[in-house]
Amino acid sequence: MAMWRWSVREMADRVRAGEVKPSELTEAVLARIRETEGKIRAFLHMDEEAAMSRARGLDGRAGEARGLLFGVPGAVKDNLCTAGVRTTCASRILANYVPPYTATAVCKLEEHGAVLVGKTNMDEFAMGSSTENSAFQKTANPWDLNRVPGGSSGGSAAAVAAGQVPFALGSDTGGSIRQPAAFCGVVGLKPTYGRVSRYGLVAFASSLDQIGPITRTVEDAALVLQAIAGRDPRDSTSAPVEVPDWTASLTGEVKGMRLAVPREYIGEGTDPAVAEAVKRAVETLAGLGAVVEEVSLPHTKYAVAVYYLIAPAEASSNLARYDGVRYGVRVEGDNLIDMYGRTRSQGFGPEVKRRIMLGTYALSSGYYDAYYLRAQKVRTLIRRDFEAVFERFDAVVAPTAPTTAFRFGEKIEDPLTMYLNDVLTIPVNLAGLPAISVPCGLAGGLPVGLQVIGKPFDEATVLRVAHAYEQAAALKLEPAGL
């Protein structure tokens, strides 16, 4: 098997066993990227020389105490700060931004011996569900080059699906790891809010944002999460909870576990072919001895409205910092106020401006109670829906997205239609829960994702269920024609 096809686990094991050198692995993935990137366009920037020199440096460290990802190449979304390396958030306003510090999650990857080869494309400031909102380029879905990879972590998901890297980090505010993972036929894990430090993640909606891995296997997702999780004094919302050994939970055993299927997730609005693929996956889990029952999460239909008030409100505040003074691009004006206005109008793209407008409106005097405060109260009702189900169940299983990957341009003209594609992932962020998307077959030749949602800080169960399904189904999903 070609080296670039190896999993994170296989690469790390073989380096450890002395069968392959880190530089050989990096060379292999760089060759794969050169071969496929013309079609996929997953990367906003790469530094092959820096990656090779880092990998060669690791070659010489054989025999030292090594990390979980020693010698394994990977990529990170371009909203994760990397000292000395451009970090643009796929926005013109940060086109020239070179951060003076590195995100904690990225530092941890490096401490574990990973070799980062580049920064991946995304929707501008992580706002979008198709990666079409990147100011710089469109990324194609490796399964059908005329379709979107999903978003906002579309570059990371496409890169992993195309075999360009065995893992990549993404960020998930309303589904931005899980939905592109589902669209591209790979695994995407959004950890519990607070599980991974957000220090150095360019903020979009701070009460919802979370960093997580995109990989080709569930075990790899567990390994990468293991490397990046944990309390960080630099992020006061990173939770002081124990980090367990997640690979130990991958037993393949789900006998007697109680799984809930929310009827609101498979009804109206979900493509019947998607619902069918998920139904078969749930039957597989039942076949392994899991107890499956249908339940109701009655406030699901309000989640999109809640999210599109809360997330833009937080974004309008977070993005106030881009004013052409301390970093980023400045467009000169007649005076200070004029400079702010021109800088922000020319620096931000249409979706970012739309959300800043929406959020500013929702927070403005006279509308705060009707929109923002009410959305926060309904957020409580959505959390309570999950709490009630988790009193009786170990995990919730559902589709990740209501459709498979759509065509370029299909939804971009109508913001509301695009927002509705997030209906099955958003509730998880509002409730702060961990959830994974694992491939569960094809519908019309395109990948479908099975979503497994768990209790707060119970990534172990989420990973265990997803892994048991993955092993039992033993699907061999790989895009053809690359």
């Binding site: 951060p99 809640v306 400079m339 922000r344 739309r354 407008m357 409106y361 929109y371 009702l381």
Partner: protein, 96 residues
């Protein structure tokens, strides 16, 4: 009408965005549609429901007030579009 062109222009000023006439018109229509969609939240009875601003039961996180390394002045200014004498430089605010 949920939102008027005048309101959109007012919000744009609050958000420090200079919108073209065309943008202002388009955002009026789009915000109208989104707010209409958000109106479904009005049908719920939320009396007595506390708001969730944050999912974690974390409030004040404190540490010892000890000196810690931070960015140097050069590092902090390295990304600035304009700086002078070790400070950020902005267009004049006061006349004269």
């Amino acid at each position: 009408m949920k939102i008027s062109l005048e309101q959109v222009e007012h919000v744009a000023r609050l958000a420090r965005l200079s919108l073209s006439e065309d943008e202002a018109r388009r955002y009026t229509e789009q915000l109208e549609a989104i707010l209409e969609f958000a109106d479904q939240l009005q049908e719920l009875d939320v009396s007595g429901v506390p708001p969730t601003s944050h999912v974690l039961p974390i409030y004040n996180v404190l540490r010892e007030d000890e000196e810690q390394p931070g960015l140097t002045r050069e590092e902090a200014l390295a990304g600035a579009p304009d700086s002078e004498d070790g400070q950020f430089r902005v267009p004049a605010i006061l006349e004269g």
